[in-house]
Symmetry: C2
Subunit: 334 residues, 2 copies
C-alpha cells in the first residue's frame, strides 16, 4: 500500500510541529550520526555490498547467533514482500488488526488471506503462513511469548512471521533471537526504525529460517549510506537509550485522559494507543489537528476491521502529550 | 544475482586504489553533497514518501514529461525486478550479453527467457518482453536509436525495456523521454548511479508505460537520504559535468593498447570496454591486479555467452589508465 500509512508528514511541508502519527518517539538528536555519514564520503562512490553481509555479521554477533540465520533488508517492509513472494499461492492467516503490508504483500503474491482475532483462532484454518505483529500494531498489545512458542512448536509445518518492530517499546518479554533460530519455522522481523528513530534510513532484518528467503533478494537494495548509518548506530547504541517505561506510562496517561473524553482506547503494552472517537471521523480530526495545532495523528480507519472513527497516536514528550489532549478535547467539544 | 557483479570493492577493504570494475568514472568529489545531507537531519527522523512523488515530479519536469509517466525506484535494479514480476510467466528475450539482472529477475518470476545477438534476432521469437541495454553492458555498443524506434513501432504488443543507465557516457543518440512516453510499449530505465557516480545511493527511475508497474511498488523502498541526495544532485547538475568525449577517447586508447598486447576488444561507444584475454582467465588477472597494483577490474565471465577469459574495464584518469596498461602488460608477459 503506497498511500494511507502513518507519518505522512511529507503531505504537510512545514506545517507539522508534533508528530504522533508513527509508533516512534521522535525527539532524538541525530547530529552525531549525520556527522559520521558526512565523513563516509567514499561509500557513496561505490556500490554497496550486494547483500549487506558485514552488517548481517554485526547484527548476528550482537544477537548471539550465527550470521547465516540473519538477513538484512531495505526496512522490514522489503522482507515482508519477500516472504510473501516465497509463499506465493499458499494460505496466510493474519492476526488482526495488523500492519497493512502483510495483507498487501499477500495480495500481490496471490496468497489466500484470512483474518483472525488471535493466534489460537488463526491456527484453526490450518494456514501455511501466519503473520503476527508482537507488540501489535495498531493496538500495542503483546501476546505472551510462551503462548507464541507453544503454538510455533505445535505447528511445525506452518511458517510463523513474528514482527517485533515495536519490541523496544514494551517491557514485556518477546521472542529472543535464539528462540527464533531454535525453531525451524519462525522468521522474526526487527528494524532499526523504531529503536533509533530512523524511519528515513530503511534498515530492517529477519532472524530465523531465512535460507530460502535469500533466494528472493535483489542486489544492492540496502544503500551504502544505510549500511554505514546502521553500523554507527549499533556501535553507539548506548548513546540512544529508550525509556520504554516512561513512554508506556505516557501512553497509559493518554489512554486515561482520552477515556475521560469519551474516546474508547484499546489496552496497550507500548508507547502507542489505538483510539475510537465517540462521534465524527478520524480523517476530520486529523485534518483539524494539523490545521489548528500542527499535530499529526494516524487515521487508523484503513486497518482491517477498524472503522472511520479509529485513530492511533504514539506518546511523545510530556508537553506535547498535554497539547494533544488539549487539542483533541477542544475538537470533541466542538 | 547477489555475488558476481562488478565493483565488489567491499571484498578488498583498504586494498583497491584504482577501481575500473564498474562502468563509472569514479573520481568525483562528493564533499558538497555530503555536507548537504548532514544539514538534512530531520529527514532521517521521518518516513520517506512511500513513493518518491516529489522526486518524480522533479525528474519529470527536467525530462519535459508528465510525472505520471515516471516511476522512481531503489536503483534501476528494483525496477528490473518489478517489471519481471509484472510480466510473470511470459516470454522474455534478452539482447546479450547484457546486465545479468534481466535474466535473474526473469528466472525469479518464471519467465521463459531466450538470448539473442541483436534486437532484430530477438523479435523472431515473438517475445512478450524484450530487454535491451543501450548502451550495452558489457560491450559499450550503442544500437541506433532509429532502429529501436522502428522495431518498437512494428511490435506494439511487445513491451520493450530500454535500459539507458550508461547513456551519459556515449555521444551517440539514445531514446529521449518524449520518445519513450509517446510509444505505449516502452519502459526506459535511467539511474543517477553513473551520471553522478553515486552507486552507493540507489536511485533509479523508469519513464514510459509505468502505470501498471506502480501496482508492484512497496512503500518506502527509496530512503529519505537517497531522496534528499537525488534532489540536491539534480539541482546542482552543472557542478557534475561528464566529459563523455574524453572518457570515450580514453576507452578507445585502452582498446588500442590492449589489442597490441593480443587482447581482443569489442568496439565500444562508451567509456568502458569488454576484453578477452589471449590466455589465462579473467579471475586470475583480477586477483593478480588487486594483489600487485590495488587495481580492481570486472571479471566478465558470468555474462551470458562470455568465457572465463572475458573482463571489463571503465576508463578512469589518464595516469590510472596508463597504470592499468602497464600492469596488464606485465601479467600478459608472465
Amino acid at each position: 500500500m503506497i498511500d494511507g500509512h502513518g507519518d505522512d508528514l511529507f503531505r504537510f511541508p512545514g506545517i507539522v510541529k508534533h508528530n504522533f502519527s508513527s509508533n516512534i518517539f521522535s525527539r532524538v538528536d541525530h547530529t552525531a550520526l549525520l556527522a559520521h555519514l558526512a565523513a563516509c564520503g567514499d561509500d557513496i562512490l561505490h556500490y554497496p555490498e550486494p547483500r549487506a553481509y558485514s552488517l548481517e555479521s554485526m547484527f548476528a554477533a550482537e544477537a548471539g547467533i550465527d550470521a547465516r540465520h540473519l538477513l538484512v533488508t531495505n526496512g522490514a517492509t522489503e522482507c515482508i514482500y519477500i516472504i510473501a513472494q516465497m509463499m506465493r499461492d499458499k494460505r496466510a492467516a493474519i492476526v488482526a488488526p495488523a500492519f497493512r503490508e502483510y495483507e498487501d504483500a499477500c495480495a500481490l503474491n496471490h496468497l489466500i488471506v484470512s483474518w483472525h482475532e488471535s493466534l489460537a483462532e488463526a491456527m484453526k484454518v490450518s494456514p501455511d503462513l501466519v503473520w503476527i505483529c508482537n507488540p501489535a500494531n495498531p493496538t500495542g498489545h503483546v501476546t505472551p511469548r510462551e503462548h507464541i512458542l507453544d503454538i510455533v512448536s505445535a505447528y511445525p509445518s506452518t511458517l510463523f512471521v513474528v514482527d517485533q518492530a515495536y519490541a523496544d517499546y514494551t517491557l514485556l518479554p518477546v521472542l529472543t533471537p535464539q528462540q527464533s533460530v531454535e525453531r525451524g519455522n519462525v522468521i522474526m522481523l526487527s528494524s532499526l526504525t523504531k529503536r533509533f528513530a530512523v524511519p528515513g534510513l530503511r534498515i530492517g532484518y529477519a532472524i530465523g529460517c531465512v535460507d530460502r528467503l535469500a533466494e528472493y533478494l535483489k542486489p544492492w537494495s540496502v544503500s551504502s549510506v544505510a549500511i554505514a548509518a546502521a553500523k554507527y548506530l549499533v556501535e553507539h547504541k548506548a548513546d540512544y537509550p529508550i525509556d520504554a517505561a516512561m513512554l508506556h506510562n505516557q501512553g497509559l496517561m493518554l489512554s486515561a485522559r482520552f477515556q475521560q473524553l469519551g474516546i474508547a482506547v484499546s489496552p496497550t503494552d507500548c508507547n502507542f494507543i489505538l483510539c475510537r472517537l465517540p462521534h465524527g471521523t478520524a480523517a476530520d480530526l486529523k485534518e483539524w489537528l494539523v490545521s489548528n495545532y500542527g499535530i499529526l495523528i494516524r487515521d487508523a480507519s484503513n486497518f482491517h476491521g477498524l472503522s472511520p472513527a479509529h485513530f492511533r497516536v504514539a506518546a511523545q514528550t510530556i508537553p506535547e502529550n498535554e497539547l494533544l489532549i488539549k487539542a483533541v478535547s477542544q475538537w470533541i467539544g466542538l
